[in-house]
């Protein structure tokens, strides 16, 4: 007679077999049997958050910085609904999450029982797949399948809903051997040699090429970033990146044009508009990138490399789709170039020299410049100083959502993948602090900083308590302008300066708040003291809330204004006057 295990034990045996080290969760009535088993599985550590949304974002931060799936454990009803924002966020940004939720006992499902909700119904549109386990014999199979779905192909969140009676029932467990199926295995490659030849042909002919890379490169693993660097150097082509792709190519490299899109650099957006060959690698033509779609890069041949067939032709029609794992496609391209044209970068130099001259002209505009001040801290300056003082330290950066996020993306230069965690697709305010908790859990000895806004960070501030409990020395670097800055900026530019409800008239004293949480509070008020205060923060080996009081009126530039294509950007306060947004244009911000 084989040994029988309860459903709760099987959950942990599955997690053990999946090499899960950390789970982020919050107990409650319908998951108590699972929590009861926690003590018997020493290899799995539980991080107790203060809100289930925090558990989800922490698991996202863990997953994005480590490349492993994040695991979330929540109770039924409110536990599950609180996790929905994080699941949707993970779905939009392709982050592998496995969420295990408790459910009321099977016989009570559908009776409006205490803390019951239709969890699989609610999470159906925000997960890759979900399961309600109604038979204990299915539990093991379902959990292993959940990990497989979350981590293969285009990664994403999944949810397994386990009724409480199933957690008590017993059955056999057969040890699971992970088939040596790597993340993003071959099964998702649909490209062939013909596609690669066609691409190389286009690359040879192109006079104005550009690489446009996205989060898909990061999701394909660190090797993909290495190969990308090799590819970009062996072609001599310029490269730009989306918000999610930052880090897959060194931010301070000469071939890198900076981020593109609504708040991207002048050179990146103009190059996208005027190019004759656009090679999209693992990006998805998001509306923040393309702007007005009818006038998006009108003269280019477009190549789209993506693991997800449904991303192809979704927003922009492309000329050459290549469906496959980024890493393997790039590998194949490099091999072919090296075989047919071993000295491509040099022999092609002449071909694209005019293009580089043009790009250098755009660069002269120095679109990320701003007018600095002696009296007040400019937010861009704060991010720049933070970058200069941390750049040698292999720093992990998370952000919230808003102006500070864009300034961080513009002024903090990344040179490695998996170092930049930000909510791009869903744009979830409150993402950065819990994400930093998850990143620090994955990398206990690394410097983890959440570049935050004071409005965003208050949405999930309670997770400071989690950071203190587990001695996670995260640094919350708040660019405090007392406004919901991005809302304020749009109101200034589009709504006749009617600052409706975008000013927070009562804010907590962040230094005292830090003390109340049992961590360290630091405040910087002037540019003169900024460096010293940042150094003080970096020298503190406890969690820190850094209240950086910045200019309240500063706007985030450059910006693709409303109704305009990529080649008509607003560059800054002076340029803005000549480029007043009018009429129909207001629709497009």
């Amino acid at each position: 007679m084989p040994k029988l295990f309860t459903g709760a034990e099987i959950v942990f045996k599955c997690l053990e077999d999946q090499d899960v080290e950390y789970i982020f969760g919050y107990p409650g009535g319908a998951v108590l049997p699972i929590y009861d088993e926690l003590k018997n599985f020493q290899s799995i550590k539980h991080i107790l958050v203060r809100h289930e949304q925090g558990a989800g974002h922490a698991a996202e931060g863990y997953a994005r910085s480590s490349g492993k799936p994040g695991v979330v454990l929540v109770t039924s009803g409110p536990g599950a609904t609180n996790a929905v924002t994080a699941l949707t966020d993970a779905y939009m940004d392709s982050v592998p999450l496995v969420c295990i939720s408790g459910q009321v006992p099977t016989h009570l499902i559908g009776t409006d029982a205490f803390q019951e909700c239709d969890t699989t119904g609610i999470t159906r549109p925000c997960t890759k797949h979900n399961w309600l386990v109604k038979d204990i014999k299915d539990l093991q199979k379902v959990i292993h399948k959940a990990f497989e779905v979350a981590t293969t192909g285009r990664p994403g969140p999944v949810l397994v809903d386990i009724p409480k009676d199933i957690q008590f029932q017993k059955t056999k467990y057969t040890s699971f051997k992970k088939i040596n199926k790597k993340l993003n295995g071959n099964s998702h490659n649909y490209f062939n040699q013909k596609d690669i030849n066609q691409l190389i042909d286009l690359m040879k002919k192109s006079k104005r090429p550009i690489f446009y890379t996205g989060g898909g490169v990061i999701n394909s693993g660190p090797k993909a970033s290495e190969l990308l660097r090799d590819l970009v150097r062996s072609t001599g082509f310029p490269i730009t990146s989306t918000l999610q792709g930052l880090g897959c190519f060194p931010g301070d490299d000469d071939q890198f044009l900076g981020m593109l899109g609504m708040h991207g650099t002048y050179e990146a957006n103009n190059a996208m508009h005027d190019c004759d060959l656009m090679i999209n690698i693992g990006a998805r033509f998001d509306d923040r990138i393309t702007g007005k779609i009818d006038e998006f890069s009108p003269k280019s041949k477009k190549v789209h490399i993506d693991i997800d067939p449904s991303s192809i032709n979704k927003n922009v029609k492309v000329d050459l789709p290549i469906v496959g794992d980024v890493k393997q496609v790039i590998n194949s391209i490099i091999k072919n170039i090296k075989k047919t044209k071993p000295n491509f970068a040099n022999s092609n130099k002449q071909n694209i020299s005019k293009w580089w001259l043009q790009i250098d002209k755009w660069r002269q505009k120095k679109s990320l410049n701003y007018i600095n001040s002696d009296t007040s801290i400019k937010p861009q300056y704060a991010v720049q100083r933070l970058y200069e003082l941390t750049k040698g330290k292999d720093t992990y950066i998370t952000t919230e959502v808003g102006q500070h996020q864009m300034w961080a993306a513009q002024h903090y230069k990344f040179d490695k993948p998996n170092r930049w965690m930000t909510s791009g697709g869903l744009g979830t305010m409150g993402y950065g602090l819990p994400a930093a908790v998850g990143v620090q859990v994955a990398h206990p000895n690394k410097l983890v900083i959440d570049i935050a806004g004071e409005a965003s960070v208050l949405m999930t501030m309670q997770e400071m308590s989690t950071a203190v409990q587990y001695s996670l020395p995260i640094k919350i670097f708040i660019l405090n302008n007392e406004y919901m800055g991005m809302v304020r900026q749009w109101q200034e530019l589009l709504h006749d300066k009617n600052y409706s409800e975008s000013y927070t008239a009562a804010l907590p004293d962040f230094v005292k708040l830090a003390e109340a949480y049992g961590c360290v509070g630091i405040r910087a008020k002037t540019p003169d003291e900024l460096d010293d205060k940042i150094i003080e923060m970096l020298n503190t080996d406890r969690p820190v809330i850094f209240d950086c009081l910045v200019d309240k009126q500063e706007n985030c530039f450059p910006m693709i204004p409303s109704g305009k294509p990529h080649n008509q950007m607003i560059l800054g306060p002076e340029d803005e006057k000549d480029n007043k947004i009018t009429g129909k244009g207001k629709a497009l911000v």
């Binding site: 699989t120 119904g121 159906r124 549109p125 890759k128 797949h129 309600l132 109604k134 779905v149 509306d287 702007g291 007005k292 779609i293 009818d294 997800d308 067939p309 449904s310 192809i312 032709n313 979704k314 749009w490 589009l494 709504h495 009429g583 129909k584 207001k586 629709a587 497009l588 911000v589």
Partner: protein, 181 residues
């Protein structure tokens, strides 16, 4: 047009709307229909008709036939999204005009009137394989199989024969000839 201050772009040109029939083979499990249908409702598209039943009881496979209207880009996107669903095995689609495919719907008509009118009614159904399923001296139930638009027409025209109630299925589809999907 009032000035828009939306954070998003204004809609571009819309493609031509066509009626498409999408056939999906799925695992017959709880919630699978909601997953399929959710891809349509989540994009704000209406489903004109839907027919679903298990076709392989051994493998637990159901065949779903969906009639919907949309631009070619939208239909392509929905098909690709359908293929990504875990319980979906296969997806096919046709345009309604496709000559290689047979589409059929079934309808049940209940007439409540006198025997003379009811006879006329059954006669009028003649082209559409009528089967008399139930008959009393005041009423009858007739089954027909036909195309959607033919049933639409009958539904209007048969009012005069005392048509009181209609129940109809969604369209089901099958390719002509020896080709198997």
């Amino acid at each position: 047009m009032p000035k828009s201050k939306s954070a998003y772009s204004v809609a571009g040109k819309k493609g031509k709307l066509d009626t498409h029939i999408i056939v999906v083979w799925v695992d017959n499990e709880a919630g699978v229909l909601a997953r399929v249908v959710g891809l349509f409702s989540g994009r704000g598209y209406n489903i004109e008709s839907l027919a679903v039943a298990e076709v392989d009881s051994k493998l637990n496979i159901s065949r779903v036939t969906i009639v919907t209207t949309g631009s070619p880009e939208v239909i392509d996107q929905i098909k690709l999204q359908l293929k990504k669903l875990v319980p979906v095995h296969k997806v096919a689609s046709f345009k309604r005009e496709d000559k290689k495919v047979i589409f059929k719907e079934m309808a049940l008509f209940k007439f409540v009137s006198n025997s003379k009118k009811m006879k006329l009614a059954v006669k009028a159904c003649k082209k559409f394989n009528p089967v008399l399923l139930d008959e009393t001296n005041k009423s009858c139930v007739v089954q027909v199989t036909a195309l959607r638009r033919e049933i639409d027409k009958m539904a209007v025209n048969f009012k005069k024969y005392g048509l009181k109630s209609i129940s109809r299925t969604g369209a089901v589809a099958m390719t002509r000839g020896s080709d198997v999907l």
